[in-house]
Amino acid sequence: MPAKIAEVHPGIYEIFLPLPMRPTIINVYLVDCHGAWALIDTGMNTPDSVATLEDAFSQVGIRLEDLTVLFGTHHHVDHFGASSTIKRRSPQVTALLHQLETERINRMLSLGGPISERPEAMEFFRTNGFPIEKHPPEAMRPMWFGTDMYSPLDRPDRYLNDGDVVPVGDRQFEIVWTPGHAPGHCVIYLRKEKVMIVGDHLLPKITPHVGLYPSAPTGNPLGDFINSQMKVQRFDVELVLPAHGGVFHDHRHRANQLIEHHRYREAEMLDLVRRRPKCAFEVASQVFGDEERPIAHVMAATFETLAHLELARIEGRARRIDRDGVALYQAV
């Protein structure tokens, strides 16, 4: 498939790769470092996506084999799914990812069997009131799960850490750890160019999904996400390069919008649990649900609702009541 690419800043190419799901496109970025090349994210490991990536490389006059460094912003299928293919084709490439993302990859790759045989996952669904008897979790697994569409490297050449500065050719890639959407999500900052490659942390039109999951049921991902939105505002940025949607300029404006969005969502959820406690599934069904919505979306909404309710609980705006094995939340 002929690739669509755009030079969004001198020597920085945005490459549009196809996805077999929504959103239907992911943007990865190829950076000419004058004598070396860096790629940020890989797309999915589908023949269509890999061929499109190769065509994009050829349009700028290089081959996959010429790549020097591969940065992964996080472990998700559309971001790091083709990393093992790229490494196989370009063994010399140095692949970089945060350690927490590597742990998630290894956990994902080990979850081959049916969810019904994972007691901790079944417990998670029951605790949060999700009707697994009516909607078997197996039927809601994403189409790529357990296929070679997700072929991430199970170990990068080096871990990314907050504050690292990675020199590639004549450019400096500064790593900013932005947990929230994923625990080891990183954005990549080019200080001299005032460019920030933001992965899924700052999307211009849609809000990044933040949730608690059967395979990662604890923590405060939404609190982390909001802190990370404040963190990126400390950087001087003129061009924001997101993984989905168009490039934009005002990262502070969008970061504040995302913070406001989650404040509003929390207010809406707490309103529903002020008079009587409810489980995450019931709250999600009322906030996000309608009869038209596929149950898989309601499941994702339940994960996100749970992240909201847990943030409210941790910060003292809600309490959790365990009743007959179900976790209920009530505003305080």
């Binding site: 919008q257 406001e260 404040r263 509003y264 207010a267 809406e268 529903l272 008079r275």
Partner: protein
């Protein structure tokens, strides 16, 4: 100086005040600087002789700020 007014309906299962607050919180995602809200109408959805939802219609006012090209 120009101010703009937008119409909102806030919905709460809890109270009239919460319905107002939810409407303003949602408007604040995309509109900056709302400084005044005028409640126009209050109604309730009733089920089994109980209020199920408060619906508050209000006008929210904010100052129009021009963004100058730098």
């Amino acid at each position: 100086m120009v101010e703009k007014i937008i119409d909102l309906i806030g919905i709460s299962s809890n109270s009239i005040e919460d319905a107002v607050q939810i409407a303003l919180a949602r408007a604040g995602v995309t509109v900056k600087g709302i400084h005044h809200a005028h409640v126009e109408d209050i109604s309730a959805v009733v089920e089994d002789n109980q209020v199920k939802q408060w619906r508050v219609a209000l006008k929210a006012t904010f100052l129009v700020r021009d963004q100058l090209h730098e």
